[in-house]
């Protein structure tokens, strides 16, 4: 149920993100999902990739600062209210979200949402009770 996310520290410098994706390409590592959090001075890249351990190694070898975090992957229908149902459930159960990012997969018309949550197990259990689909790591890495 927990999906391993890789985070990379990036300074706001031209071409830096392309260097990172270049390393993944050379090593034939696929990015399933990516988000960039940026501030005035730096950015944080968060990614779900195929072959996570290998990805960490090659990124580190290239001199980047990397760490990992567990995130929760949820699948909802790509229709109005899909995300709201999840957020509403978490909010009513007092579960705080640090951040989230999402993308839509076609042709299945399902949206994938990745949540960074402290109480990850509790959140998974509650969402399960509400018939919201929590994806397993295997289901994610190969996307």
């Amino acid at each position: 149920m927990k999906v391993k996310q890789i985070s990379v520290f990036l300074e706001n410098k031209k071409g830096r993100l392309a260097q990172l994706t270049g390393i993944l390409k050379e090593n034939n590592i696929d990015i399933s999902a990516i988000s960039v959090a940026d501030t005035a001075n730096f950015g944080i890249i968060r990614m779900i990739v195929s072959r996570c351990d290998e990805a960490i190694r090659v990124i580190k070898d290239a001199g980047f600062t990397v760490n990992t975090a567990d995130v929760l992957a949820i699948e909802v229908s790509d229709s109005p209210g899909g995300l709201h149902q999840v957020l509403d459930t978490l909010s009513k159960n007092d579960i705080e979200i640090e951040y989230l990012y999402s993308f839509v997969r076609r042709p299945s018309e399902r949206a994938l949402i990745l949540f960074r949550i402290r109480k990850i197990e509790e959140a998974a259990r509650i969402l399960g009770h509400h018939n919201i689909k929590v994806l397993s790591p295997e289901e994610i890495y190969g996307l």
């Binding site: 520290f9 300074e11 501030t39 730096f42 600062t65």
Partner: protein, 432 residues
Amino acid sequence: MNYWNKFCECMGRRELDKLQSERLVETIERVYYNVPYYRNLMQERGLMPEDIKGVDDLNRLPFTTKDDLRENYPYGLFAVPLSEIVRIHASSGTTGKPTVVGYTRRDIAIWSELMARTLTCGGATKESVIQVAYGYGLFTGGLGVHYGAERLGASVIPISGGNTKRQIMLMKDFGTTVLACTPSYALYIAETMSEMGLEKGDFSLKYGILGAEPWTEELRREIEEKLGITAIDIYGLSEIIGPGVASECLYKTGLHICEDHFIPEIIDPATGQVLPEGSEGELVFTTITKEGIPVIRYRTRDITSLNYEPCRCGRTHARMHKVIGRTDDMLIIRGVNVFPSQIESILIDIGETEPHYLLVIDRVGNMDNLEVWVEVSEKLFSDEVRRLEELNRRIAHEIQSILGLTVRVKLVEPKTIERSQGKAVRVIDKRK
């Protein structure tokens, strides 16, 4: 040319040597019996107080360094009981702990006398209105100049540093004639004046008694031109007494050292050998009248040279050249002593085991700016923006609370900071 104490300031060389020798002998006896640290050092060298008969024996004595002061933190080198100490000052140490100095009532009297000499030497008189814009507090600048100015009988405005527009308003309204502050602050005041639409003709300023940081002749000309004053360089350090150790006279040909209280030497910083007169090297001082914390052969880490020729002004004490550099990595930023190792210990306290950092100093609008670059290691890194921003703020706050300097912290990627021959470059000073 005015003197505060002509007898002492213009004493013949032979009499001065004799006076220094007598006072040195007394000082050595006092530290031997009252400061276990010095007694042990002398015993290790097989020296008894009576072996030191005069200034010629000075080089038989061990050096004292800032680290020695720190290792004896806080009161280990005091030569009198705390009950005799009436004032404590501190300056930043090379790591977290400050360097602490204590003054007896007599020390304060001597300090005031020396600052009165310094101010007189730089053009101030009893009629002067002296605005003391050095920081008041643990830093010796503010109170040191203050006591000297009162001793001189001038009218003192104890405004301390900062609040520049108010400084300028009072300078104009109160008819300030002498400004005492760091050279960079004097220049900042000048810039602010013109931003406020004021001209030097609106003020009564005549002299600037400027010190606590190294400055160039170019900067002096700029300050003199913009403020319409004569700018005088003064030198001091808290370990010796504070401001008042040496100062220029109006001829501006070197800083007169108050040799009846401090014996200067110039040594080769690598070997510790005393260098011949006129050589450039590290300045070393032995205090010969101080009671609270006498220091023997204190290595200032400042590089300069000495000139024993009597000055045109009539003063006979040795003159030191403007300080031209440092033997260590100490930086002076807005008058505050900063060692890169202090930043390192702050980062270690935050949980970084092997911190990589860089201090970038620049002069923006004539104010020194310190930017601290910190490489983000895995240990410090978080995938949450909030945590990284917290880290940034925390580093800035710690530095501010320990150094008293506002800094901008910039988090950078690993290996951003250049390593040359395995040793990291810690400082980029763009001010020069």
